[in-house]
Symmetry: C2
Subunit: 346 residues, 2 copies
Amino acid sequence: MRQAGRYLPEYNATRAKAGSFLGLAKNPNYATEVTLQPLDRYPLDAAILFSDILTVPDAMGLGLQFATGEGPSFQRPLRTEDDVKKLKIADLNQLKYVFDAVSQIRQSLVQDGKQRVPLIGFSGSPWTLACYMIDGSGSDDFRHAKTMMFNRPDLLRQILDINIDSVAAYLTEQAKAGAQALMIFDTWGGLLPDRWYQSISLDSMKKVIERLPAEINGETIPIIIFTKGGGLWLKEMAQIGAHVIGLDWTMSLSKARQTLVDANKVIALQGNFDPLALFAKPEQIQVEAKAILQELSKAPPIKKGLHPLDGHIFNLGHGISQFTPPENVTVLANSVLEYSQLLRRA
Amino acid sequence: MRQAGRYLPEYNATRAKAGSFLGLAKNPNYATEVTLQPLDRYPLDAAILFSDILTVPDAMGLGLQFATGEGPSFQRPLRTEDDVKKLKIADLNQLKYVFDAVSQIRQSLVQDGKQRVPLIGFSGSPWTLACYMIDGSGSDDFRHAKTMMFNRPDLLRQILDINIDSVAAYLTEQAKAGAQALMIFDTWGGLLPDRWYQSISLDSMKKVIERLPAEINGETIPIIIFTKGGGLWLKEMAQIGAHVIGLDWTMSLSKARQTLVDANKVIALQGNFDPLALFAKPEQIQVEAKAILQELSKAPPIKKGLHPLDGHIFNLGHGISQFTPPENVTVLANSVLEYSQLLRRA
């Protein structure tokens, strides 16, 4: 999940310099600056590109805007057959600032000839992007997107096909520019009914993964998929070629690991700390972090000979709230490091 | 789920007469009128009391208000230790309008000496009520409620204890007044992390069920529990004494039935039609209804000798959208009746 953000005073200072969220996201210098800020503050294992999933539909010509006091929205949402017919794959030239940011971040991560941590790139999933592209902004239920799905599945399919091509090309370019793992965020897959999740959102992510090159610059790039509320569909998620599955905080990690082991899949897990638990007092943050690691230590190993804690990337189960006290993230990161070392020695 | 609502012109006409939502909900004549309206329009198997879950905290003195253009909110949310200390169990005298409505609806359901359909009463779950009582209004993440849970679990426990007593007393009175089944809506249980769901929301519902009399007026009253996003916790939900578990649309019914059969539990299921599928064209509504019934017909029977379709109450997986075309509900109800008869004959 995004590490930088409005909860950090240093992020707000950079944003103020940039003038606006888009001014920040579209400027590689600023994007590099805020991507690195959390690494200077917290003992983190990886950096994640600072960007926004909606820059991809923006590069399809939908006109991303941030009205003051409101969330992001598109000037030209896709509501009619005519809107959909005109839709074209994202223009990667218009996303050059993202690839430039990736290269610049990679370079900036090198200290004394060594890379501090690996860099993760990301994209929204084809379905999650379609939700915003059709509804035009955030929503409780993405009624317009789901209505199109039920009512004009042919139109939704056209949008998804364009999104699949766009996301695959976008992620490939990020990897070429230096991203060392790629994450696909499917924030709204969990709004879908069983069966539709599989045929719409999961199938689209599968097609993205199929289009990604097996190796880039001679390296395998691990693919992480995350569906909010996806715990129910873990077995199906394990079948689409991802190396890691991200989980929100509703799913038990030991149950998740058991499901993957039963399905004969060597797939790592990521997550599942509730971002709201960062509002707890320090002792309780420690309790919550330990509970996740203990839960995991009861699980079967990802494959024979490994420790149960291997193959899990500790992370929040979704985005960090803007109201999070930054010092609480320090407590969490330290608890995870200390307690996981303790469990490994035990 | 609520059958009446803003999607029905006849409901809007009654609401206009009542002057406001609370004027409608607090007047037994109007509440009776709108409870019966859907029965005249659709071939339904049951009526559900028209009311609002927030009337219970209102009767605890929190001051429910509906500002124009906004959702409901409380004048006095519970944010401090002092707020919580002053909290008292709901005053049932202040909820007399609900029990009067229940009696009046029961009487009005009798036609030619026969009751048309049974009447379902309901309440919010202790945790879901606490979410609104602490945050003070609807929210994406109920940050204040969850912060209290992580930070001051002792305060949340006091609120939950009062809610458990209040909900149990409230449901008992509804049953005494004539409700023939009781539903507990846990809309926000799915916001909780695994482990917390079990110890906070599920445990509170268990305590409510334990406090309900085994029989009222010589009849067993079936208890229905519903947690939005609860599919992951179905096995645990089966252990708290409910007769029926409601499911949203993300859970496969055949998997759900299999889980209950494996756990040796004879528990009926309710749900799981996506309310947004009511925005589809008629043919697609039929397809969606059939898919649910077909899914169920692949499931093991609830107990030996029964048809797989037995022990399932077809219903929406959550509330109906105010923008739903009323004629589409007719299509759904007819499809379910026709296709379930066909499957039973097959």
